[in-house]
């Protein structure tokens, strides 16, 4: 379960969001500039809220009143960035293994096998990120985040940098991920059609404020 109630001033832009979500995939929907990326950066701990609190599965990660701010590396929150951000000096295998090494987790070949099969990246292991297509890069980034065994996975427009054809190629993987990986996700997108396919709950964000919250139905524009 994810509970967010925060305020953050970023220059001229003020972000103030409060919601609770039990959903397997919480879709964070809004136009560009609505504050979606800032909000998940706060959840990831990359930004510190000015005021408020964040809790995942009952564990407090931020609480400005109590002076709590758990740094990103201790949150166990995975993050898939729009631009993949694979490490250019490591091959795919090392990229995938990075989170396990940093968290000093035991080697888990079965899990690695499951994730690489799920994402179809087994044949890319020895390649460098520079030699991957955009879609492959994004799949490896997904695998890398999953293999760090997060309790929550944040996806920031994971299809945003891909063209239409590639999007259709990746979308099924995301749906499989939702149904098989068992990790709750926060999925950021400005594309309602995409969220209808992936999300189970929607948080709608407009100019830094949550304007509606509920099932996928809220994506349908209300008749005037």
């Amino acid at each position: 379960m994810l509970r967010v109630d925060i305020a953050k001033q970023l220059g001229e832009f003020s972000l103030s969001a409060s919601f609770e979500s039990e959903g397997r995939v919480t879709g964070l929907f809004g136009a560009s500039g609505a504050g979606k990326t800032s909000l998940i950066n706060v959840i990831a701990g990359l930004l510190t809220p000015d005021r408020g609190s964040i809790a995942v599965d009952g564990e407090t990660l931020d609480d400005t009143a109590a002076g709590v701010h758990v740094p990103p590396h201790r949150r166990r929150i995975g993050y898939v960035f729009q631009d993949a951000r694979l490490f250019p000096h490591l091959d795919v295998r090392q990229n995938l293994d990075y989170g396990r090494r940093m968290n000093r987790l035991a080697d888990d070949p079965a899990q690695r096998r499951r994730v690489t099969d799920l994402l179809d990246i087994g044949h890319l292991m020895d390649r460098r990120p520079g030699k991957l297509s955009g879609g492959e890069r994004q799949r490896v980034a997904l695998g890398r985040a999953l293999l760090s065994k997060p309790r929550l996975l944040l996806l920031d427009e994971p299809l945003g940098s891909l063209d239409e054809g590639r999007k259709i190629e990746i979308l099924p993987y995301l749906v499989r991920l939702r149904d098989e990986a068992g990790v709750p996700m926060v999925y950021v997108s400005h594309d309602a059609a995409e969220l209808r396919q992936v999300a189970t709950q929607i948080v709608m964000l407009q100019r830094g404020r949550v304007t509606s919250f509920g099932g996928v139905k809220v994506l349908t524009p209300s008749p005037r």
């Binding site: 701990g45 949150r75 993050y79 960035f81 631009d83 000096h89 940093m102 520079g130």
Partner: protein, 231 residues
Amino acid sequence: MFEISPTEWTAVLLSLRVAVIATLVATPFGIALAWLLARRQFWGKSVLDAAVHLPLVLPPVVTGYLLLLTFGKRGLVGQWLADHLGIVFAFRWTGAALACGVMAFPLLVRPIRLSIEAVDRRLEQAAETLGAAPWQVFATVTLPLALPGILAGMVLGFAKAIGEFGATITFVSNIPGETQTISSAIYSLIQTPDGDTAALRLVIVSMVIAMGALMASEWFARRALLRLHGN
């Protein structure tokens, strides 16, 4: 003509030892300082930045004299080090290495700083979200990606250290076998009648060392780049 005498060999080997030690000891400090200047905001940063560059703009004699005042036998730091740790710099080859290290420091720090600044911070953030503590981010992402700059800084520092003259001779004088590097040996030989051929031999040796260092650095830089972007 090409018979290099034992005293000349001593100067050559001493120069190499002084420059290698100076570079190796200065590099970790250089990396730490470069990281601080590239990635942190703190009070007095611009003063620190200026202080690092000071040996580059001060006359070397001044730097040497300041070292003598600080690290000499009666110097503030020198006396303490001699009394408590038994480390003596004055008129020893270690003092030559210290002088070379200080003179080489700004040249060492600059490329490292630039290459750390060029490392994409978004990759460092990605590493954090994967569970890497700040020192792990540095060791596994920042450092390897900055490697070409670190090697470039080391080569520049080495080149400066092996050619250093003014600060060294001011601080530790020109004692054959202890503090007489190639530069100070050439200087002495030029002052001596009939020293010309010997001086010329050392000139050739120093040119060979310089060429070797440059070629080695090219090779390292190319390998490092391949490691980073190749397949």
